[in-house]
Symmetry: C2
Subunit: 133 residues, 2 copies
DNA sequence: AACACAACTAATAATCATTCTAATTTAAAG
DNA sequence: CTTTAAATTAGAATGATTATTAGTTGTGTT
């Protein structure tokens, strides 16, 4: 079990037990949506409020401690901030995996054929994971 | 002004005036969110219900007449279904543009380094459009 | 052109998701 | 150990979406 106290503080966030548990859940599960976070934290904090989940998710996003991942035909999931990467989503079981790809060539192509100044590329692959094929 | 009657019917959708107007709005504006569609249709149908907007958006998505585009830090927008393409979003003015890129190399890379069978890649670039830089 | 019917629209209520408010509790700095 | 600003909680309030129902309309058939 990881200790995220210092990492939270490095992001200007007080290390409350609820926040530590959110961090641990995302660390252990990789990705989780609002409902999953709430259900998981309920086990440890019998009287936690959904407002706490939302408030912390929003604050943690503002402070770049976590990030939102928008997924086609599904609720957003959240993950601890780490190196830039893309995602694979299984259409059957809903599982989300990370994948690191070099998208610079694609970004460069896009910047040359448009007048945009691009600083981020969110890429989500949809398909079937090994188990679901 | 385009006539989408036949195209709607080809997708098993009755060509009602409200649907024709949704199609025209998306054709003219490229992309629009729920609220923008509602506001636009209100001008022509003074007593249209938001439920009609939602019901039609959902049906049109089911029947592949339109598609949802999920955007970081913003509401989803909808667009007429056309050839597969990616999107550019301006973080300042919110404008959404299409861009056609060959993502097969990236998909192949992803399929080889994972056990996923990929059949779709949703890519959204974020940055500044020419006017906003 | 008129008919019949399934499908559609509009109003409203109901549900689900998210944010706000106010009172209480707590992390962490001194 | 105190102090204080910030966090948590419960519940109300708001916002977004879906369901229900009664009346209307598009469309294939005559």
């Amino acid at each position: 079990m990881n200790n995220f106290t210092d990492l939270l503080r490095a992001h200007n966030l007080k290390a409350t037990p609820q926040r530590l548990e959110i961090a641990n859940t995302l660390y252990n599960q990789g990705h989780a949506n609002v409902e999953e976070l709430y259900d998981t934290l309920l086990k440890k904090f019998h009287s936690i409020s959904l407002a706490t989940i939302y408030k912390n998710i929003n604050l943690m996003i503002e402070n770049a401690f976590i990030q939102e991942v928008k997924i086609p035909n599904a609720k957003s999931v959240y993950e601890l901030t780490k190196e830039t990467h893309s995602h694979l989503v299984c259409k059957k079981c809903g599982n989300v995996e990370d994948i690191t790809l070099d998208l610079r060539p694609v970004c460069d192509l896009a910047m040359h054929s448009t007048e945009f100044q691009i600083d981020k590329a969110d890429l989500v692959f949809s398909g079937l994971c090994k188990k679901c094929q």
